[in-house]
Every structure is written in structure tokens, then in C-alpha cells.
């Protein structure tokens, strides 16, 4: 799809403090919907889903003192657009020591868009083990789904045009916390 140019106008949707509040809310929702996050594993999708998963685990620990195992799940080799682009470098896949069999896996990603990354993640999970159920937590849902996929926990819904893009930056990866809408603005 067409990416907006780098110098396209952009607007801040969430600032650092907003982003922290949103993460706190998702952590609370997870605790609520999973009766205290028992039997639960958080798997972040690289790149930015991984620090988000760690933040959620830290907040859950701060709220209720529960330690939720955190891991990462790289989906590069499962992408459906693998051979339409130049070869990509692989991200890290690290499963928590207890594995995922029989547990509730919550996939964590920064932006939910077409749903294709989530489909790839579900395929990757399938090769790794058999969770009892799989849920999805995203910081931003920008719409325009191309597959029948929805999120269980959404930080913020941002209505977008296809020509726009949503850029999430996180301190761990980019040096600052921010969500920005780029391009297509009046």
C-alpha cells in the first residue's frame, strides 16, 4: 500500500502520558477479563509489540502482584507478503520457560490494521504448541481489516484513511513514547 512521504504533515494522537494511561487501562482489562491473569502468557510481536508486552506485564504486577510470563513471537517467516518484498531480517522468538501449551496466550502488537500480521502470528503459534485460547491486545486499532480478525483489548480506536499511516514510537525502541497519524490531513 502507498506509504505517506516522510515529510507529510503529521499529528500527535497520543503523547507519552496518554500512552501510559492507555497501557494501564489494557492491563486492568486483561486482569478483569482473565480473572486475575492466571494461566496467561503475553507474547509480543516484534518489533514494538515486545516492549508493549513487557510494559503490560509490569503494570499487571504493579496492580495485583501477579507475574505473567512474557515472550516474543516473530512472524516474518509466516507473512503472506514474504516474497513480494526484499528479504527481511528475522526478529527474536523467545518463549517463556513454561511454554504455551494449555495456557491463554495474549498476542500483543502496536497497530491493528489489515489483520494479516495477526493471521501470521496465529499460524506461527500453531507450530509452537497448543494454547487453550488466544486473545489479541493492540495499542491502536486503525480499521481497514482485510481478514475476519478483531482485537480483545484495544488501547485506542483511530479512524484513518487508507492513505494515512499510524506511527507508534516507544522509548525502548525509538527513544520516546508517542502515537502519530501521518499524511492525508486537511
Amino acid at each position: 500500500m502507498a506509504q505517506p512521504r516522510a515529510d507529510a504533515p503529521s499529528k500527535i494522537i497520543l503523547e507519552g502520558s496518554d500512552l501510559h494511561r492507555v497501557v494501564d487501562r489494557i492491563a486492568h482489562q486483561i486482569l478483569e477479563k482473565t480473572s486475575g491473569a492466571t494461566g496467561t502468557v503475553l507474547l509480543g510481536i516484534p518489533t514494538r509489540g515486545v516492549p508493549l508486552a513487557h510494559r503490560l506485564a509490569a503494570r499487571i504486577h504493579a496492580f495485583e502482584g501477579v507475574d505473567v510470563p512474557v515472550g516474543s513471537l516473530d512472524i516474518t517467516l509466516y507473512r503472506d507478503d514474504l516474497r513480494m518484498r526484499a528479504t527481511r531480517a528475522l526478529g527474536k522468538t523467545e518463549l517463556p520457560p513454561g511454554g504455551i501449551d494449555g495456557l491463554r496466550v495474549i498476542l500483543v502488537d502496536d497497530v491493528l490494521f489489515s489483520g494479516r500480521s495477526v493471521r501470521a502470528a496465529l499460524d506461527a503459534l500453531n507450530d509452537i504448541g497448543r494454547p487453550s485460547s488466544v486473545q489479541l491486545a493492540v495499542l491502536v486499532d486503525r480499521g481497514h481489516r482485510q481478514l475476519p480478525i478483531r482485537a480483545d483489548y484495544v488501547g485506542k480506536n483511530i479512524p484513518t484513511a487508507l492513505a494515512e499511516s499510524v506511527k507508534v514510537t516507544l522509548t525502548e525502541v525509538d527513544g520516546s513514547d508517542e502515537v502519530r497519524l501521518i499524511g492525508g490531513l486537511s
Binding site: 516473530d74 516474518t76 517467516l77 509466516y78 514474504l82 516474497r83 513480494m84 518484498r85 526484499a86 528479504t87 527481511r88 531480517a89 528475522l90 526478529g91 527474536k92 522468538t93 523467545e94 499460524d123 500453531n126 507450530d127 509452537i128 504448541g129
Partner: protein, 307 residues
Amino acid sequence: MIRHLRSAADLDAADATLILDTAGEMASLTGGREVKKLPALRGRTVVNLFYEDSTRTRISFEAAAKRLSADVINFSAKGSSVSKGESLKDTALTLQAMGADAVVIRHPASGAPHRLAEWVDGSVVNAGDGTHEHPTQALLDAYTMRSRMGRLDGLRVAIVGDVLHSRVARSNVLLLTTLGAQVTLVGPPTLIPLDVAAALSEKTQVSYDLDAVVPDSDVVMMLRVQSERMQDSYFPSAREYSRRYGLDVARLRKMPEHAIVMHPGPMNRGMEIAPEVADSPRSTIVEQVANGVSVRMAVLYLLLGGK
């Protein structure tokens, strides 16, 4: 990323590091999981074209391609039209017509992969050509060194034996110097002509005295002495070669505490390497074979995975 892997010289430091990093991910992806298969090369065809005998390299490439879900066709010159006199070019055109996305070739003639790359559209991977190169062996050696020693930059590597005829040595010198290691070639003068050493890399040192090199090496890589060389009088006798250039227990003790012993296999136990040394915990020989699959998965993925 490059399209063919014909020589270790095709790789700059960035590409080589990308392959080693990807190999690390491949190893962690296939280790200890339910389904040891990844869908990245589904629907792609990899042909193993082997004009020379090989066990570990062919099996290693086959396992790598299959773990990435590619279809694998094994072709060995014995029992094929090659024994009826078909030329490499005609075989290449046949493979081309069958739609091979990659051809992994081992050939007794140096330079065969370079010719092949002119005739087929797919990627060509050199799995050993004559006395020229064996780049994936060098990559798996570098991967093994990096995972054991933690780095390659500044690492002191001694490559010992028949450098003149060794494609493993040639590829290793090219790759290791690209990645910043200091390579010393060790062996009898008949098997390390100075012009060969200089042509490989100006940064490479040459020594004819193994005892002098061993205490200052982080890695000692032994090369196989090919039995056919013994008839060609490159050295007086097997016994003399073994005494001067074989790695025995006494020499192992002179190596630094952290140093490792490598061998590309197949070994001549008691000739270039003593059995006690080959089986010691400091030898990485079995590890090298296991790493070979991960490294070849990385190479196939990076050459074929994208557009």
C-alpha cells in the same frame, strides 16, 4: 542481499553478519519446538546438484531446505544422464526448464558454480567447487566460532594443513578476514605457496611451525589431508606430516585455556588430528555439523525468501 552465493568474497561484512544473525534465529526457531518446519519457502524448489560424493553437505542442505518447506530434488551425477555424457550446460538447462528456484552445486571443477549462474535464472549456491571454494562451510565455521568465543573481530585463527588444495581454507580466509579475524596459515611450504597466501588476502600470515602458532591462537582449524595428496610427494611421509602438523594432546595442552579445535570433516583420526583431541570438550566438530543446518537455512531463506 546478493542473489548467488558462489564465493565467500560475494559477501561484505554486513551481509555475512546478517547470515550469521539469521542462522542464530533459525537455530532458536527449530530447537525444541513441536513442528520443526517453517513455511518461508513453501512452493519453492531447491535442486541439490552433486557431481562429487558428499554426506554431510548434501544432507545438511536437504534438511535445511525441507525445514523451510521447500521441495527438494536430489541429483547425483552417478546414475543420471551425466554418466551418459551430458554436459553441465545441458543439465543446467534441464533444471531451468523444471523451474528450480535454487541450485546447490558441488562440482570437481573450480568455477563450475560461476558458469552455472550464467545459465539458470534461479539462485546458485556453491557447495564446494574443486580446490576453489566452499562458502557455506566457512559461514558455519564462523558461526561456530562466534557462538563459542562471542566475537570474530580480532580473533586469532590458525588454519592448519593442505591450504593449497583446500576450498574450506580458501573460503574461510576470505570470510574471516572480511569479519575482522586474524588468520594464520600453517603447513608444509609445499602446501602453502606464498603467492597463494598473498592472493587470498594480504592480511593473512603464514607459518611453517605449528608449535610456534598454537600458544597464540584462539581457534585452531585442522584441514583434512586428502589421501590422494600423499602419492603426490607434497611431504615425505604420513608419519612425518602427522608429527609436524598434526594436532596431538601435547599441542592441545599448549593452546590457551579458552581456545577451540575445529575440523570440517571427514577426519583422518591419528593423521592430522589425534582421537583424544577430536573427542575433547574443546573440539567443536559435532557442533559444526549441527550449526551447518541453521546456517544453510539462513542462506536459503535470505537468497530465496524475498522478491
